[in-house]
């Protein structure tokens, strides 16, 4: 049969976002692919050139709406680098707690979207049910369910609410039990293993050459986690390990390895939160008012011309970077340039080529296992 191009997208249940994947198939085998991005380009970088440093934070929430905390924090660290601000330690702990809860939430959303791609719709409702618990926690912190506007230059918006620690511990304990149930339904299911093992092989060398980072890279055995290799915040004060999988074949990591990395990461993030609640200076039960020096330090409003701030950060999907250039007196409180490096923008074209040689039915399995988020891709 002749080879033909099929267009998957932009409206397609598989694509996890608004983009097009054009696939050339020979029967059921994928022979070539071509991704087309840019449907959600909103011009965030340009918008940020006309906003104050505090006003930019809500925009960064909306870069990857599934993991808003991590993107807002990623921006805030580079803004603090630009404005040369010291952050109080309690604020760093609160940020860590918020970020790790967000990481769990993001991975739950990933799993909830990935399983229906494989065909198991039961996990979808289970994951979103448990994600609700953590979204409630973040709602207490930030005020909304998905876009929190939580960090401020120099600290955080407000402190842990009263009773937060109790609720957090109860929810994490419950979640860790439920995670075992997910594993019963997925890891101990031959059909799931047959769909994900040996599928979507991506070697460590190819990924490093392409610039793929995050859980996708760690699935291939490369121990690179920005929190571990270049610790920021208080990650070096906690006792934790990054989740690295030895890849299943010499040719690289398959979908099952990437799935395992994220499951392990959820467990590790939960443990980090519990440890942070124990170690937070001032205690987890105390509550400081917004603006108190324990949770926010005074920050300058303007950055001199020619100055720059840079930070690389472990987002749920890889290494995200923000590069800010100060505006100086002429531009007032706005940055001159905000440049955003999105891990998914680098990964998606790489993944598109990984799919060659597999079947059409493997396309959602492979694509989903890399956890695409188009909001951050298109910015």
């Amino acid at each position: 049969m002749a080879q033909m191009w099929i267009t998957m997208g932009p409206q397609h249940p598989m694509t996890h976002g608004l983009w097009t994947l054009r696939v050339k198939v020979d029967g059921e085998t994928v022979v070539d692919t071509e991704p087309e991005l840019g449907y959600i380009h909103r011009g965030v970088e340009k918008i940020c050139e006309a906003r104050d440093f505090t006003q930019i934070t809500p925009y960064c929430d909306r870069l990857c709406y599934v993991s808003a905390m991590t993107w807002a924090h990623s921006y805030i660290y580079s803004a603090e680098n630009l404005l040369e601000v010291e952050v109080p330690e309690r604020a760093e702990y609160v940020r860590l707690i918020a970020t790790e809860i967000q990481r769990v939430t993001s991975h739950l959303m990933w799993l909830g979207a990935y399983s229906p791609d494989i065909g198991n719709l039961t996990i979808f409702t289970w994951c979103l049910r448990d994600r609700e618990m953590f979204i409630d926690l973040m709602q207490e912190l930030g005020g909304s369910r998905l876009h929190y506007n939580f960090p401020r230059v120099g600290g955080v918006k407000r402190d842990l609410p009263i009773g937060f620690a109790q609720r957090c511990r109860a929810k994490i304990a419950l979640f860790l039990e439920r995670l075992k149930e997910y594993e019963m339904l997925l890891d101990e299911s031959t059909v799931f293993l047959v769909r994900t093992q040996g599928v979507g092989l991506a070697s460590a060398e190819a990924m490093v050459n392409a610039g793929v980072t995050g859980p996708n890279l760690r699935a291939a055995g490369v121990n690179y986690d920005v929190r571990w290799a270049h610790p920021y915040s208080v990650y070096d004060e906690l006792d934790w390990n990054p989740s690295v999988e030895k890849p299943s074949s010499s040719k690289g990591a398959d979908c099952y390895d990437r799935y395992r990395v994220r499951m392990e990461e959820m467990v590790h993030s939960c443990e980090m939160v519990l440890e942070a609640l124990d170690k937070i200076p001032g205690g987890a039960e105390s509550h400081y008012s917004p603006g108190d020096e324990m949770i926010q330090s005074k920050a300058p409003l303007r950055a001199p011309a020619g100055s720059s701030g840079f930070h690389h950060y472990e987002d749920c999907r890889g290494e995200s970077m923000f590069y800010l250039q100060g505006g100086g007196e002429g531009r007032g409180k706005h940055p001159y340039r905000v440049s955003i490096r999105s891990p998914m923008f680098i990964t998606i074209p790489f993944v598109a080529k990984t799919m060659i040689g597999y079947k059409i039915a493997d396309i959602p399995a492979i694509m989903g296992s890399f956890d695409p988020c188009i909001g951050e891709t298109d910015r």
Binding site: P58, W126, H147, I162, G163, D187, E188, S189, R260
Partner: protein, 315 residues
Amino acid sequence: MATHPRAQPNFRNLFIKPFWMTLVTALRTLGRPIFGWGYHNKSEEMLDEHSKNRVSGSVMNDVSSHDYAADREGSDLYPNLWKPMTLMYPYERLEDLEPWLFVPGQYNGRIGVIWETCTACKLCVKICPNDCLHMSTELRVDILDGAEGENAGYGSNLEVGGWAAVEVSGAKEFQETRNPVTSHDAPIDEFRFGEVIDLSGDTATVRWNDTGGEDIVERGELLKADDQIISGRIDIGRCMFCGLCMEACHFTSFFMTNEYDGMSGFTRQELWFDAARTRVLIGEHQEVVDAELAKRATKERVKREKKAAKVKAEA
């Protein structure tokens, strides 16, 4: 290799654990009396003393019977059926079941502005990333002019060329019964405004704004209105509910209420919320307004007493 110890694609894993897991989940939904296991046996007393004190005594937040479990359970509609997670909105509302999520000031809901205490410093306008706030002046009755009771009489008087207002009957009652949380209609204007053409003794000639017609009205029924009252519009359609405006206001006039409901409309113009639709909870709003009113009345009273004393001293 895979770190899960039992992850092998063999015959046993074809259906044993997956089928078991779905069966258990389905059986758990039958409720606590039948199958004791489930998530809800593990509930803990989650509200600490401080939270309990804060939320006790309120109709919406009465949690004396709450037995917190980490996930959502049944409601007063179905106290025995403890599963599943879905909140049956609108029969159950989240603020009833989990009031700690809606601590006032911590939830970014609908914007509420107490315009009576606003000083028009415009910090909120400056901080808004999306340019959704517009300040303007409006023709209203100043709270001092419309006061009754102990604070009455400290307002200013009608003057020719100025504005006057008469109460619209039924508006106050409608305002009291209207639920701002769920109503989709704008409230009825409390006053009907007009320009004072002529004053003579007990009556005044007023040209109404809405009809253009002139009427002679008893002065006792008229209230002085002012068209320089601070007011504004908020475009809820553009608002992204980030909460920066609430943080910017130093005068505790700007809030984000706990309301997530009742903000819809069919046109974009309906999403421009004017002063009447940006009220905070009626009770709270009234408290703040009363406090402000008392403050201004006191100030005015003191001023008049000083003036009277000065006149007396000169006489």
